[in-house]
Subunit: 214 residues, 2 copies
DNA sequence: TAGATTGTTAATCGATTAACAATC
DNA sequence: TAGATTGTTAATCGATTAACAATC
């Protein structure tokens, strides 16, 4: 595994590969060529070979890639199986939806705790995850290894919480708030901005007839 | 407004600009330079000027950009105010969370209806949005202008529903399912893949010490 | 063996950055 | 006017695609 200085675009494609490979596995497909993968993902075969070859030689001439093997390589590149842990901030609708529905385990994460300010939920459990008062957060981090903080709090409370998270030494934030987080040297942010996504769609809505020609 | 053949990367930055401009407006900031915007968004001033100049001349030498004016230009580029409509498929946790919390109106969308197979929710309302049986979908689309279908159904039911949506003539799908949708010529897909995002974060988790140097 | 398909090098294409005249 | 900052052209950088020898 070579793996130094991989371009961000390549990294963002890896989870898509994993998704498709898992799907092929489910359908008992044994091998797949770069061309077939390209057809599924709307990428060129060339690009797919380039991407994988950055991490090693996983294929075989004349045969393609063994699905199970490639799947495991990709999973390992993405760190699935590294036994990661997360805590969640904000048990509103979205926080609850994540805890109840999102398969953290499938992606190698255990959610250890949730934190909220609402005293009516503190002390309860959501999908087996205990909810603590946000004041107990610092101590919790001292006593548990926490890799990721999941942020599902209201937008206006984001900034101070991010400060606390960073100070507590958590290295990564999975951000669902509608806030442009300022880069911090010791913290990696990965944001899901629903509005950005919907507005991108909105942009294409006006111009669809132009674009559909292409 | 020139606006032909804008690169995808530029389009994806527009919602971010809008977000920051709205924020500056909230703080009563009158003008902003490309450099200041660049600092906030971690982009170069040059890039920001390039991006805006694709759509017109919104700035003024020596002064920068008027925040309110630029905000309106960006909003209009993104089609906010075009009175869009959406329907939602699947009223599980995530669907509910969206209906209850996501401010569709702010981004120029009205949610006309939700559809589900679960007879216990059909006939009820969620956040003021009526829930119909999925069988009534076709007729609904015939009688109402629907721009976007929001997909928050379980993964395994996605494919047939997308087929129906496309056949009904809906031009855009906002996809929250964990499925790689196959490109369709007459339908635009915009997907939010939670897992892709978390796995990207996971990738950086292993290598953080390398990357934080940069 | 013949056909298929990889991994990689080179060529192309596109996007970002730098530079600067224009001008508020 | 002097300083600041735009919009745009040119230069650079990076990412995608094409091509092909190697080989299963």
């Amino acid at each position: 595994v070579k793996d130094t200085n991989i371009p961000p675009n390549v990294i963002r494609r890896m989870p898509r590969y994993l998704r498709v490979l898992d799907d092929l596995l489910d359908h008992n497909v044994e091998s797949v060529s770069s061309r077939q993968l390209g057809d599924i993902l709307d990428l060129t075969a060339s690009q797919i070979r380039q991407d994988f070859s950055r991490f090693g030689e996983f294929g075989q001439q004349g045969y393609g890639y063994n699905v199970a093997l490639l799947r495991d390589e990709v999973a390992s590149i993405l760190g699935i199986g590294a036994n990661r842990t997360a805590v969640l901030f904000g048990t509103g609708n979205l926080g609850r939806a994540l805890l109840n529905n999102f398969n953290f385990k499938k992606y190698g994460f255990r959610v250890l705790a949730a934190f909220d300010v609402d005293t009516t939920v503190v002390g309860s459990e959501i999908a087996g995850v205990p909810v603590y008062d946000i004041g107990e957060f610092k101590e919790f981090v001292r006593e548990n290894k926490v890799d990721v903080a999941v942020l599902t709090v209201p937008g206006n409370t984001t900034a101070p919480i991010v400060g606390e998270i960073s100070k507590a030494g958590i290295k990564s934030v999975w951000n669902f708030t509608n806030v442009e987080l300022q880069r911090l040297s010791n913290t990696y942010f990965e944001s899901i901005h629903f509005s950005d996504s919907l507005l991108t769609l909105g942009y294409h809505l006006v111009r669809q007839y132009e674009y559909s020609k292409e």
